[in-house]
């Protein structure tokens, strides 16, 4: 049985032209809403509060220098080139330690992903050494290598190996069985399997490991340099912090801290973010 219904015509409503629904906001409000403005405002506020606190509170500059004094000290350190020399000293140790740590971790991981006993070995040794602060090995390192670059490299390597190994193995374990079987189907085995299948698939967690390793290594290195500064009075940025505070050049201490912060921010936000952009985000993993 057919039901007859009247024709249904959709009436098109014209887009209204005489009503403006946008909210008029002043240029200032728009400007204040931008994230970069707000962050800059925060920094400015911190700097002003800092300076005012020192000026009004009549704080002894030997104990707590003002913002402007810190800037002046920083400028002086830049002009004399001292800050670059010390930063180079610290970076050279990282430039030795980071690749050595990664190579060691890679060797352990290859061992761990090829045999079961290797996996047990790595699991055991990382769970032992991961909770051990690398800096606690510094006294041992000074017995073995003396007060010098080798000791710093040794503790830096220690702070890198376990963090990288731990997160890489966790990443490998999370790679889908299917993915591995696809690789094996292509006849890829051993090291080639690790390089072509496991590493790209586990790259997000490997990068996390590298990031954590950098964070630990940077902290360990600065800590070790502070300690060496206390014991023997040489070293990079950390040693400089200690030395300057020993001489009560507090403005130089603040300036060095600013440099340490800037280096940390640069590595985290320029180096790692770009590596991520070039790999993981490009692959949509």
């Amino acid at each position: 049985m057919n039901v007859e219904r009247p024709e249904y015509v959709v009436e098109r409503i014209e887009r209204p032209t005489d009503i403006d629904i946008s909210i008029k906001r002043s240029a200032l409000a728009q400007f204040l809403d931008r994230e970069i403005t707000r962050k800059a405002a925060v920094l400015l506020l911190v700097a002003i509060t800092w300076e005012l606190y020192v000026r009004i509170g009549d704080v002894n500059a030997l104990l707590f220098p003002g913002f402007l004094e810190t800037c002046a000290a920083l400028w002086e350190l830049i002009l004399s080139g001292e800050i670059f020399r010390k930063a180079y000293y610290s970076f050279r140790i990282l430039a030795f330690g980071y690749p050595i740590g990664i190579l060691l971790a890679a060797a352990l991981i290859v061992l761990a992903s090829s045999t079961r006993i290797g996996r047990d070995f790595l699991g055991l040794i990382t769970s032992i050494f991961q909770p051990l602060p690398a800096i606690a090995l510094l006294p041992l390192a000074t017995i073995w290598f003396g007060f010098g670059t080798s000791s710093l490299v040794f503790v830096t390597v220690h702070s890198i190996v376990w963090a990288v190994a731990l997160s890489t193995v966790a990443g490998f374990a999370a790679v889908g069985r299917t993915m591995v079987m696809v690789g094996e189907n292509y006849g890829v085995t051993g090291i080639k399997l690790i390089r072509l299948v496991l590493v790209p698939a586990a790259l997000p967690s490997i990068l996390t490991g590298l990031r954590i390793a950098w964070a630990f290594a940077w902290r360990t290195l600065i800590g070790a340099e502070v300690i060496f500064g206390a014991v023997s009075g040489e070293g990079g940025l950390g040693g400089m912090v200690f030395e300057n505070s020993d001489w009560l050049r507090t403005d130089a201490v603040f300036a060095t801290l600013v440099v340490i912060i800037l280096i940390g921010l640069a590595v985290e936000n320029l180096v790692f973010i770009n590596i991520e952009k070039m790999t993981v985000r490009k692959w949509q993993a």
Binding site: I117, G123, P131, I135, L140, I222, G223, L265
Partner: protein
């Protein structure tokens, strides 16, 4: 011809029941050693023993001085001796006490910071900018300053510890809170929750998985910072000759290691490291895992055993 037959268009089929397989035919007796080897713990213990043996024999055969590298047995003996004399327990307890006071104050400070940041947009900007800026600064670099401000004492160490705790915890807590789905927050508002109750009942539980990662990182940084700080104090004593630094330092594990190294008792250095490892494993695998199990896993927010 029934309609059923027409539909199938093929002959009736009967399944034959296959008799159950005789278990004995397919199972294989494996040698006892094979079965033992398949247990995780056996293999790990074996590896541990093998490593100990290699260490012991390597040191004995290479004829190095025990001041450079003590044997495994000497290390264990020094550890036992340290425990028997109570030196290790005292040192460990001193370190833990300092760490706990720092951790407690740090958590209190960051929860105040985070509460302010949640309530006020400028506060959010302030906290995220400050913590992103100060988090990459190794806390230990502040120790020389802290020593100027607070003297060679516990105050300086706790100040440094605070710095290594407050920023990671705040950073992670803010990240976690930002990731909460708006639906959950609106539900809370619907129930009429606001202010502290809103934070306590909605934001905190929902952001807890991230907060726990923050607590973990903070613990790791704080533990490392504490050890480094105790070593710096050790360096001060030997280098600058500050009397009474041991008392100010209250003799934690880092100091124990430093002193043993200065007295050339390398076996005691190893024993101190062993104590640090044991405490680290305990905190990470028992305390923090326990918190995780009691909260996020029980609430079903993460997979257990991951």
């Amino acid at each position: 011809m029934t309609s059923h037959d027409r539909f199938l268009g093929r002959e009736e089929r009967h399944l034959t029941v296959i008799p159950p397989v005789d278990d004995a035919a397919v199972t294989r007796d494996r040698a006892l050693i094979d079965r033992l080897w398949n247990i995780d713990i056996t293999r790990k213990v074996t590896i541990l023993l093998a490593l100990g043996l290699i260490w012991e024999l390597g040191v004995l055969s290479s004829n190095v001085s025990d001041q450079v590298m003590p044997t495994a047995s000497a290390t264990l003996a020094a550890f036992g001796e340290g425990l028997a004399s109570g030196a290790i327990q005292t040192a460990a307890w001193n370190s833990i006490k300092t760490l706990l006071s720092g951790y407690g104050i740090g958590l209190a400070v960051s929860s105040v910071f985070v509460s302010i940041a949640v309530a006020w947009r400028f506060g959010t900007d302030m906290l995220t900018t400050l913590s992103a800026m100060l988090n990459p600064l190794p806390a230990i670099a502040l120790l020389p300053l802290a020593m100027i401000w607070f003297g060679l004492g516990k105050g300086a160490i706790i100040f440094t510890l605070l710095h290594s705790i407050v920023w990671p915890v705040s950073l992670y807590a803010m990240t976690g809170i930002r990731g909460i789905s708006p639906t959950l927050k609106m539900m809370g508002r619907n129930y009429g929750l606001r202010g502290p109750r809103f934070i306590l009942l909605i934001l905190l539980p929902a952001a807890f998985p991230t907060i726990i990662s923050g607590l973990r990182i903070a613990w790791a940084f704080a533990w490392r910072t504490l050890m480094a700080a105790e070593l710096v104090f050790g360096g001060q004593v030997s280098g600058g000759g500050f009397a009474g630094a041991e008392a100010g330092n209250s003799g934690g594990l880092g100091w124990y290691i430093f002193r043993s190294q200065m007295e050339n008792q390398t076996a005691s250095v190893f024993a101190g490291l062993l104590a640090i490892i044991v405490i680290g494993i305990f905190v990470e695998n028992v305390l923090l895992r326990g918190v995780e199990r009691l909260t996020v896993e029980r609430w079903g927010m993460t997979r257990s055993g991951s």
